[in-house]
């Protein structure tokens, strides 16, 4: 197994000079390729901050974060952007897509940024839209898609760059439970088919149930880190499990 995340003694304090907020406090985290983990915890517990640190969007005050062998705390801002482009897929809570571009163009964009060949891009687009089940919406603008469909396109975009790691910050927060379940199905499927590591933050219990590893944050510290039983069925329909 390849190590994807190796983070040591990571701390992040906001407003150190006024009213300090210790958003992340001495966190250690290790993750192998192909894991499918949930980052859980109450609001304000530091989930977004931790994901931002791992994804190279923010820099920790102390500690090292090694992603796929690269210590990203040592990278310059420009190197970080490049690092993110090639190693991290992001799914945000909402407004993931550029409104003036079609679903396809949104996914294409990241591969164009990577200077991938046209033929490569076309092939990848087709297979991704098949995987997210939106082949018929390929030329649709985001505003014509439902929230769940938009998030599925966002997942496709996150995977399009063939990253080491997909970070999804509360991807289902704005979705109804049926769409949430559907999104989780797709994520789980892609995780298996592409062997790409996923971390998603959430406080939705039904989403947590789908993870194979659950990391709980409380006040910026890892409170618990438990692996769930592998044999548990992966395709439970969450909508009917209410």
């Amino acid at each position: 197994m390849k190590t994807v995340i190796d983070a040591h003694t990571v701390s992040k304090t906001f407003n150190p000079n006024t009213i300090p907020v210790h958003a992340i406090n001495n966190v250690h985290l290790h993750m192998e390729q192909g894991e499918f983990s949930a980052l859980v915890g109450p609001s304000g517990s530091g989930k977004t901050t931790l994901l931002n640190l791992i994804g190279g969007l923010d820099k920790p005050d102390t500690g090292n974060i090694i992603i796929h062998g690269i210590d990203i705390t040592k990278l310059s801002p420009n190197e970080l952007i490049d690092f993110r482009l090639h190693n991290i897929g992001f799914v945000f809570q909402s407004f993931n897509l550029i409104p003036v571009l079609t679903a396809k163009e949104n996914v294409e964009l990241i591969m164009q940024l990577q200077n991938r060949k046209r033929a490569d891009i076309e092939k990848r687009i087709l297979s991704l839209f098949k995987q997210i089940g939106l082949e018929d919406k390929i030329d649709t603008r985001p505003s014509q898609l439902s929230g769940g469909q938009q998030q599925r396109v966002a997942v496709a975009r996150a995977l399009a760059s063939k990253p080491q790691l997909v970070l999804a910050d509360e991807p289902t927060a704005n979705l109804d439970s049926k769409s949430a379940a559907n999104l989780l199905d797709i994520m789980a499927k892609l995780n298996q088919e592409e062997n790409i590591t996923f971390i998603f933050s959430t406080h939705d219990v039904r989403v947590i149930e789908r993870a194979r590893r659950v990391i709980t944050l409380v006040d910026g510290q890892i409170h618990s880190d438990t692996a769930r039983v592998e044999t548990e069925p992966q395709t439970t329909d969450l909508a009917t499990a209410k």
């Binding site: 969007l57 952007i81 993110r84 407004f95 550029i98 003036v100 571009l101």
Partner: protein, 405 residues
């Protein structure tokens, strides 16, 4: 390529706003092109008038003549001198003149006047004097009659075919006196010329002033007036220090001054116009940057280099400004050509000012392509300058804070 496509799509993200921005640029371009072309047309015309009605583009005199315009500063006309003057390619013709003062008397009245001895034919090719004849006939070579300016005729209470007497001082202090028959009456817009001038054939003038073979100036016609200064310089070097070669600008600095003052006020008006447009563009730019802050943060988050994002916004700005420019210039062209074909006629005060200089206040607009290019470039430059704002904003963009709601 995809960047260009994305820019284009972004540009139309808010159709209303883009339309308003483009219209603002459009109006600025149309207004400034049309005003510039009118102004240039006015000045071109002014210069053409000044030059063609009297001074010519260039004049050759004896050194010192322009400062002291007396017959003793005249010079010997000669074919070889004329050939030398005509050598530069840009000089297409010349007309000799012998100018001086005299008292003109009718039976009851005496008035001071300017006597201009001309070669009727050569003079006509440069200043079209024949067109100014309103009564009687134009002069022929060696004519013994005179052309009297209408105002002077009125002051002397003289009419066509009357006679008048000229008395003055000739070359080297000789007495000048002669009796002349009024062959034609000429009319000038310029009060100065109209009230004071009188034309003789060169031979008659030389005879009157005992200045045989002498002239006070050669008036030159140019093929390309734009090369005025270089042509003046080459004539100057050909002739050496005995002669002075003066451009119309040197002879009539007040006209250049008038043009510059007018251009100055024009630049101020255009400046205000552009300032308004800038405020408009900047306002929409500010709004756009606020609206798209999250999205830009996200693009940088997922791996778009800031320089790419800057390019994207720059292309958007250029496309927007360019569209305004293109539409503006496209619409200006027919307007300008129309105003060239059907010129504006000034009335009132403005007309008077121009009439004092001696011409009709009719002004076809200039169709010089330089105007379109200059105004287009100014607007484009301003657009680029303004988009520096978005570039600075992007440079300072932090994806994490930009994406915070």
């Amino acid at each position: 390529m995809w960047l260009l496509k994305l820019s284009w799509k972004n540009m139309w993200r808010n159709k209303h706003r883009t339309t308003i921005t483009i219209s603002a640029i459009f109006f600025a371009v149309v207004l400034s092109v049309v005003t510039s072309s009118l102004q240039d047309g006015v000045f071109d015309n002014l210069i053409k008038n000044v030059v063609s009605f009297y001074s010519g583009y260039l004049q050759v005199h004896k050194q010192g003549y322009w400062d002291e315009r007396i017959l003793d500063n005249s010079f010997e006309a000669s074919v070889s001198l004329e050939q030398q003057i005509l050598q530069p390619k840009n000089v297409t013709g010349l007309a000799p003149r012998l100018e001086s003062f005299a008292l003109a008397s009718s039976e009851e009245l005496t008035k001071g006047c300017v006597v201009i001895g001309i070669s009727p034919q050569r003079e006509n090719t440069i200043t079209a004097l024949q067109n100014k004849v309103i009564e009687g006939e134009y002069l022929i070579e060696n004519d013994v009659g005179v052309l009297l300016a209408q105002g002077l005729a009125a002051r002397l209470r003289l009419q066509l075919h009357d006679t008048l007497i000229l008395i003055g001082q000739g070359y080297h202090g000789a007495t000048a006196a002669g009796k002349y028959f009024i062959k034609g009456i000429v009319k000038f817009g310029s009060p100065d010329l109209n009230e004071q001038s009188l034309f003789l054939s060169l031979a008659a003038a030389q005879d009157l002033y005992s200045a045989n073979g002498r002239v006070t100036s050669y008036v030159l016609a140019l093929k390309n007036p734009a090369d005025l200064n270089s042509t003046a310089e080459s004539v100057r070097t050909k002739l050496g220090g005995t002669y002075e070669t003066m451009t119309w600008e040197e002879m009539m600095p007040e006209i250049i001054q008038h043009i510059q003052t007018d251009k100055g006020s024009m630049y101020i008006i255009q400046g205000i116009l552009y300032l308004l447009v800038c405020f408009g563009i900047f306002g929409t730019l500010l709004m756009m940057m606020v609206e798209r802050k999250y999205e830009m943060g996200m693009l940088v988050a997922i791996g778009m280099k800031k320089i790419k994002l800057m390019q994207l916004l720059l292309v958007e700005s250029v496309l927007t400004v360019f569209s305004g420019c293109i539409v503006g210039i496209t619409v200006s062209i027919p307007i300008v050509y129309y105003l060239n074909k059907y010129p504006i006629r000034f009335t009132g005060e403005m007309a008077k000012v121009y009439e004092e200089f001696g011409f009709e206040a009719i002004f076809p607009s200039s169709t010089d392509s330089g105007i379109f290019i200059t105004q287009g470039l100014i607007v484009l430059g301003l657009g680029l300058l303004l988009s520096l704002y978005s570039i600075i904003k992007i440079a300072a963009l932090n994806p994490v804070t930009a994406m915070k709601k």
